[in-house]
């Protein structure tokens, strides 16, 4: 089962695969709520975490730092991270700063499904 989590502090159900929507919160200190929710999911056993950027136009330095925190937490918990629906400019930024070395970047939902199918097969 896949759950879609809003970037809010209220507790979301934890499953092995979770989707967190980045929204536009990621550019502010309040974006730490997303990091908190991701960490909660990871600590509760989530093994495949998807951060959805469909509503995110721009990621600034605070956003990058928060995403690095999520990557670090996932790595510590032996989980994988997928960034989905990331626009071209943000993909370039992730590549430039090395985030893409730690995550899988999926362009859209169909590709994401394919990634998950591959994960299940492997």
């Amino acid at each position: 089962m896949i759950t879609h989590s809003e970037p809010v502090t209220s507790a979301q159900p934890v499953t092995e695969k979770s989707v967190i929507r980045a929204g536009d919160y990621l550019n502010k200190l309040s974006g730490e709520q997303i990091e908190y929710e991701c960490k909660r999911q990871l600590e509760a056993g989530c093994k495949e975490l998807v951060v959805n950027f469909a509503e995110t136009e721009l990621v600034n330095s605070i956003g990058i730092s928060i995403l690095l925190g999520i990557i670090d937490a996932a790595s510590s918990n032996g989980a994988t991270v997928v960034f989905s629906d990331v626009n071209e400019t943000t993909v370039e930024l992730f590549e430039m700063l090395g985030l893409s070395k730690h995550v899988t970047i999926a362009d859209s939902a169909p590709q994401l499904t394919k990634i998950w199918q591959n994960m299940i097969i492997s």
């Binding site: 200190l29 600034n60 330095s61 605070i62 956003g63 990058i64 730092s65 928060i66 690095l68 925190g69 990557i71 670090d72 370039e92 930024l93 430039m96 700063l97 090395g98 985030l99 070395k101 730690h102």
Partner: protein, 428 residues
């Protein structure tokens, strides 16, 4: 666009945001947390921390930590050698391989190594250590470039200034707190001195023991009933406490005479307001009207008072308050030649002399305060404490006060003197 240019634009964005964050008057802890995010995000650094230097404890205390784990030391003790090296190095990044030579680093080397720290930046502002930044490996896993170190330096300067400003503010707040405490102590000393003076004045007159203290308290009640602020109420009380200070120079036998004093003695006694003014005037009181209250507390609205025979508006307001408090106490306490008068008679007297001797608005406020206490609307028991329960609860006093206040209500604060046909200089 080349990748280098992209990086530069992204880093500039972070630098601009950092500048804005630091100049905003946000919570200091949040500013530092944001600053760490901005450095990490500008370059893509996996983990790091920002610490503030505690000068007296010689410690680096962590203000913001990211990705370094719960067991990362939150306080690091520095040696004088560390401090010397920081100052020599200034605000520029030190590679961990070099920083390992520092004494404090050696103590925590295992911990730092475990977190894969790569850079250490002492924050030195105006030749003073204010803090430090610890940075882990980059997300690219590549070593830090010269240009990235320069960006870190620029951002470190912003953070250093923010910490320095915070330290300065804390120092100013500490001084302000010291000053406030000192002011409170001085104020308390002043009040104690005033009360001691009042007691000294009252000691001289064995028949009116406690008079100055009571006048102080009645003056305070009047000021409260007028809705004055805390400082003004205190000022009125002090004026009451000190109104008779001039009596200190009057011969004890005149003050304590158990008979009606003669004209000569009366002239001597009547000097006390002026003498009181001369005593109080050179003193720098927090409440400026105190000497005036002493000088004019025997003036009357109709101009028949002393020492200057002033009329209504010529009499300082504070003196009018003390006059009422003084007379009220004289009427409600036993004297060697006269027993105290019943409460209802006193109320009658105040009404009769309202606009003649006393300011009507003060009489109204005073009597209204008394009525509120008797009706239980004011539970402070101010009048009961000063006059005694039996005296205050004399039969018919509540109705008397209501009736008197109803009668006085239509009158304006302005004087009756003109209507009475008495020459009133203040009206012309």
């Amino acid at each position: 666009m080349a990748e280098h240019d992209h990086k530069l634009i992204h880093a500039f964005g972070a630098l601009a945001e950092l500048g804005q964050e630091i100049t905003n008057k946000n919570n200091f802890q949040e500013t530092i947390r944001t600053s760490l995010h901005l450095i990490s995000g500008a370059i893509g650094i996996m983990r790091g921390a920002v610490a503030r230097y505690a000068r007296f404890g010689h410690e680096l205390n962590m203000l913001a930590v990211r990705g370094l784990g719960d067991d990362f030391p939150l306080s690091l003790m520095l040696t004088s050698e560390d401090e010397r090296q920081f100052l020599t190095n200034g605000l520029s990044p030190i590679e961990i391989s070099q920083a390992q030579a520092l004494p404090f680093f050696q103590v925590h080397n295992v911990s730092f190594d475990k977190r894969r720290l790569e850079l250490f930046v002492p924050l030195v502002v105006r030749d003073e250590i204010v803090g430090a930044i610890f940075l882990g490996e980059k997300a690219t896993a590549e070593p830090y470039t010269k240009y990235e170190k320069e960006i870190i330096c620029a951002m470190g300067q912003h953070i250093g200034v923010a910490i320095s400003q915070r330290n300065l503010m804390a120092e100013i707040e500490r001084h302000a707190e010291d000053n406030r405490r000192m002011f409170d102590e001085m104020r308390s000393t002043y009040h104690d001195t005033v009360k001691a003076f009042a007691a000294a004045i009252d000691c001289k007159d064995k028949y009116t023991e406690g008079h100055s203290v009571r006048v102080g308290k009645f003056s305070e009640i009047i000021a409260m009933e007028l809705g004055w602020g805390k400082d003004e109420i205190e000022g009125a009380a002090v004026a009451g406490y000190l109104h008779d200070v001039g009596k200190l120079t009057v011969e004890r036998k005149i003050i304590n005479a158990p008979y009606r004093i003669n004209a000569k003695e009366s002239a001597e006694l009547n000097k006390h307001p002026g003498v009181g003014y001369d005593i109080l005037q050179p003193i720098h009181h927090p409440y400026t009207d105190v000497p005036l209250a002493a000088k004019y507390h025997h003036e009357r609205l109709d101009g028949r008072g002393y020492p200057d025979g002033l009329y209504d508006r010529e009499i300082p307001f504070i003196a009018k308050i003390v006059t009422l408090a003084d007379s009220f106490d004289a009427m409600t306490t036993d004297r060697p030649y006269k027993a105290r008068r019943p409460a209802k008679d006193v109320v009658d007297d105040l009404q009769k002399n309202s606009g003649v001797q006393f300011a009507p608005e003060l009489v109204t406020a005073f009597l209204a305060g008394m009525l509120r206490e008797l009706k239980g609307e004011d539970r402070t028991k101010r009048f009961r404490r000063l006059l005694g329960r039996d005296y205050m609860e004399a039969e018919g006093i509540v109705d008397k006060l209501k009736y008197t206040l109803n009668e006085m209500a239509p009158t304006t604060p302005m004087t009756y003197i003109a209507a009475a046909g008495i020459g009133d200089r203040s009206l012309h």
